[in-house]
């Protein structure tokens, strides 16, 4: 036991003396959370649009007023004819043009139907989509208020209500994802690098020719990073609660325990990588390419798994991050307890045991 503690002490010396890594270790989570929280969002706010109004009557005026009153749109420009649409887009400021047909009010009354054309700049498809949806909902709103006075036989009024993330704040979606990436990266990459560094510098040779057992070396490498990753997880949660007012609906204790489980999964992966990689660079490349990319692309962090092609959906099942994201979204946003996430938890535990077993088997007690 004394040997083991001596080993862990040595690991902490390594970590704290390498200022640059330490800075990355703690700077990265903060930078990422702030970036994702403030800069990279799917919400639209104050989008500049232009209006081409062929009728200029009471109805169009009211709709235009409703649109400009919403916080989503700013009317930047009034366009006189179709020919000006293209130049307006080309200048780049305008993201959408609303084109009201001629005799808008008349058509509503006479034919019970009028047309608005919504032209959006789809270079950014997500924004274009959101713009269309927002405009549609404003129009629907207008229709409903108008229809109150007129008697129609029946009417279907869809009432949508967003649950769990009622304000559709994208930061709430990103926090679980970022937390997953950070924990994965810190745990897997840092451990794999620190083990391969011993190989590269030749100190592994001396450690092997010593009474230290392989599992003592491995656990000794892992313990400091569990500690650091837990601190990171706390920093992320605290930041999201206090800066982004993210509600944590479920139990913090459960969140903590699940995070520790995922940290251990990632560490096990890191150890596995270090048994394959011979150099620090190789370890870093494998961690980045083999872990980061799948976590970002296939875990449901950015792209919903349900809209992926079936083969990718199947592959996504073997990515630990997918299960962890389900778990923490459940705890943070829905406030569910163990009863709802026991399956995902079991999967993570199983994966962890598998990785640990594999790396113990692959760990070399000799040089080759």
């Amino acid at each position: 036991m004394k040997r083991f503690i001596g080993f862990i002490k040595k690991e902490f010396y390594h970590i704290f003396r390498d200022r640059r890594s330490l800075f990355i270790l703690f700077g990265m989570p903060i930078a990422q959370i702030l970036l994702f929280g403030f800069a990279i969002t799917n919400e639209i706010n104050n989008v500049d649009i232009a209006i081409l109004d062929h009728s200029k009557d009471a109805s169009t005026e009211e709709i235009i007023n409703k649109i400009s009153a919403s916080k989503y749109f700013t009317i930047k420009q009034m366009i006189a004819n179709e020919a000006e649409i293209e130049p307006a887009f080309k200048k780049g400021k305008i993201k959408a043009v609303l084109n009201f047909e001629k005799d808008f009010s008349k058509n509503i009354i006479k034919e019970r139907k009028a047309t608005i054309q919504i032209i959006t700049d789809a270079t950014d498809p997500n924004t274009a989509n959101s713009i269309t949806n927002y405009v549609n909902s404003i129009l629907q709103n207008y229709q409903q208020s108008e229809n109150k006075s007129i008697q129609i036989d029946y009417q279907i009024i869809p009432q949508t209500r967003m649950v769990y993330n009622t304000e559709l704040k994208s930061v709430f979606m990103f926090v679980p994802g970022v937390m997953t990436i950070i924990l994965m990266l810190v745990s897997a990459m840092m451990t794999s690098i620190s083990i391969t560094r011993e190989k590269e510098l030749g100190t592994m040779e001396i450690l092997l020719v010593s009474p230290l057992k392989p599992f003592q070396v491995i656990i000794g490498k892992v313990v400091p990073y569990i500690f650091l990753s837990v601190i990171n997880a706390i920093v992320i949660v605290v930041l999201s609660i206090f800066i982004f007012k993210m509600p944590v609906q479920g139990s913090l204790l459960l969140l903590g325990l699940e995070s520790v489980l995922f940290i251990i999964t990632s560490l096990a992966l890191g150890i596995l990588i270090s048994t394959i990689a011979e150099t620090q660079q190789a370890a870093m490349m494998i961690s980045l390419m083999g872990l980061m990319l799948p976590v970002i692309l296939l875990s449901g962090f950015i792209f919903p798994i349900s809209s992926m092609p079936v083969p990718l959906q199947i592959i996504s099942n073997i990515i630990p991050a997918k299960w962890f994201i389900i778990i923490i979204k459940g705890i943070m946003l829905k406030g569910v307890g163990m009863a709802f996430i026991w399956k995902e938890t079991l999967i993570l535990i199983g994966m962890t045991l598998f990785f640990i077993g594999l790396s113990v088997k692959k760990y070399k007690i000799r040089l080759e």
């Binding site: 390594h14 390498d18 100190t203 020719v209 007690i365």
Partner: protein
């Protein structure tokens, strides 16, 4: 504790690193593996320290098999790899404490063993190991290898890249350690260090050329060696190599070691030949052969 190797062979993919190596090191002996880079010295060390498994043959340390009983061996040997393998970002003292701890001991407990060596680096005990000079690094590495009182010490090229004064000190330390009953197997590419060992094995290309005491190896040298000097070293070597009775020519410091094919060699003959070749300040005298001459002769 004794070391014994019998018929050890090891290849890396297609390259044969060592072939059919057998030798024994007696308890308390200072045994040297002498050979140039790439001779297979490190491979032998790694096999003996249980880091590699030989393709063929058997090796034991104090009767423990290096494959089967590797755990017992790892507990009782000290190993100093050829490359400086301590933690560069840890201080001198932290390195030593770390190695003491993982071997389940403390610096104080075995201080008497490392005292001679450690006092020299103690003034720098708060300096990071990476910032030490070459000689001090080796002293620290030796201290770390000794801290658990090993019965056998494996030193793989401990003096490579170390200045002559530190090298001399290092060997004096080894002699003192030997007196404390530690069996030492040391490798070096420096032939002059071979004379300081009890027995040596000359090794080249993965094969052992000769095993004996340094004196015996030198005394078995079959030829008389002449120390030849002249004003132009380069021309001297060329001329000697072209001499019709030449057997071998090796530059040796500011002289050339020359041996002749004939039994009846006359210095005057050579002198006049060299003068004809246009060399001046010629000196020729017999010299005592050394390990390097013996090695060159065996390696021919």
């Amino acid at each position: 504790m004794s070391i014994s190797l019998s018929n050890i062979s090891k290849s890396y993919k297609k390259v044969k690193a060592v072939q059919d190596i057998s030798f024994d090191v007696n308890p308390g002996e200072l045994f040297g593996l002498i050979g140039p880079d790439g001779a297979g010295k490190t491979t032998i060390f790694r096999i003996l320290t249980t880091l590699l498994i030989a393709d063929e043959g058997r090796a034991t340390i104090a009767g423990f098999d290096v494959v089967k009983d590797y755990k017992a061996i790892r507990n009782s040997v000290g190993y100093m790899p050829g490359r400086f393998s301590l933690y560069q970002d840890l201080t001198v003292e932290e390195n030593l404490t770390f190695f003491a701890t993982i071997f389940g001991t403390t610096i104080e407990e075995n201080y008497d063993l490392i005292e001679d060596i450690y006092v020299q680096i103690e003034p720098f005990k708060n300096r990071r190991a990476g910032k030490l000079s070459g000689g001090m690094k080796q002293k620290l590495a030796l201290s770390c290898a000794l801290i658990h009182k090993p019965k056998v010490l494996f030193l793989d090229e401990p003096t490579t890249g170390v200045d002559p004064v530190s090298r001399k000190e290092f060997w004096e330390m080894l002699k003192r350690l030997q007196k404390k009953g530690i069996t030492i197997l040391v490798s070096t590419p420096y032939m002059d260090e071979a004379a300081l060992c009890d027995r040596i094995a000359l090794i080249q290309g993965g094969e052992i050329l000769e095993i004996d005491t340094p004196d015996a190896i030198v005394s078995e040298f079959p030829k008389t060696i002449y120390n030849v000097g002249a004003d132009n070293m380069y021309k001297l070597i060329q001329s000697l190599q072209q001499y019709e009775h030449v057997y071998s020519v090796f530059p040796f410091g500011e002289f050339v070691h020359y041996t002749d094919k004939r039994d009846s060699f006359e210095m005057a003959d050579l002198q006049s030949y060299l003068e004809k070749e246009g060399l001046a300040d010629i000196s020729i005298e017999t010299a005592k052969p050394n390990i390097e001459d013996a090695f060159m002769e065996l390696a021919r």
